[in-house]
Symmetry: C2
Subunit: 143 residues, 2 copies
């Protein structure tokens, strides 16, 4: 019996799926852990922390490469946190833009749905708006 946390426990504790933990190891986001005699991965508490960090970052919409940078920063606490700040700020700008875009989108979808008189397709506002971009007031970016 080896003393180390099995991948399933780590998965449960961190909220990252087992397959995803292995995937993170594969892409070098998480160091390859030691193995049992039988070849099973054994983790420790640090790994759970790291995976929690990754999961939370992913939930905040950071890309893997950005998380890589953030993790490197975390490993070197004496360094300036300017990079972390820059990454977070850039993400904030993205999020604001996306909210604006989705709000415009919401308005257009509401217009479509409200205008639909539940009749035939030939007079359907939904189809009509999709077909004719001229009827669209808002300029939408990637939604």
């Amino acid at each position: 019996m080896n003393h180390g946390i099995a991948i399933g426990k780590v998965s449960q504790a961190s909220g990252v799926k087992v397959t995803t933990v292995r995937f993170y190891e594969q892409i070098g986001l998480l160091a390859a852990p030691p193995r049992t005699d039988g070849g099973r991965r054994t983790y420790d508490l640090k790994d759970i922390e790291r995976l929690t960090f990754i999961r939370h970052s992913r939930e905040l919409g950071f890309e893997i490469d950005q998380i890589r940078t953030l993790l490197e920063l975390q490993d070197r606490p004496g360094q300036s946190c300017a990079d972390a700040d820059t990454i977070a700020k850039a993400r904030l700008v993205e999020v604001k833009a996306k909210i604006a875009s989705l709000t415009a989108l919401q308005a257009e979808l509401e217009r479509m749905v409200d205008g639909c008189s539940h009749g035939r397709v030939e007079s359907c506002r939904v189809i009509e708006i999709l077909a004719d971009h001229g009827k669209c007031k808002h300029h939408l970016h990637d939604a």
Copy 2:
């Protein structure tokens, strides 16, 4: 000289990239057009309309399969538009949920960025919040 619109022109007119037009043909979203003697695709105005419809639908965040349904509906104008209405309503629900999620995200990112004193990583609010989910007030879903 054949009379038909070249893929480049269709792309320009519809706002769909040339490679994407070919991709749509490949997945059966757009019918394969006739060709010139030299083997080049020749389109007509209907195709531009269809591609514009597709592009606009994609901008509104509809999935390819949903667009397939919407296009089929458009082709049979006598039919009830209930399906189109259902698809649009479902998308509206998704968009509203996403806006809510992103707004929570925005708040958390602002908290991170505002709290960062631009010092060392060891006292960086950004890193700290990412590391410790307990400091996160909001429960975030997919952002």
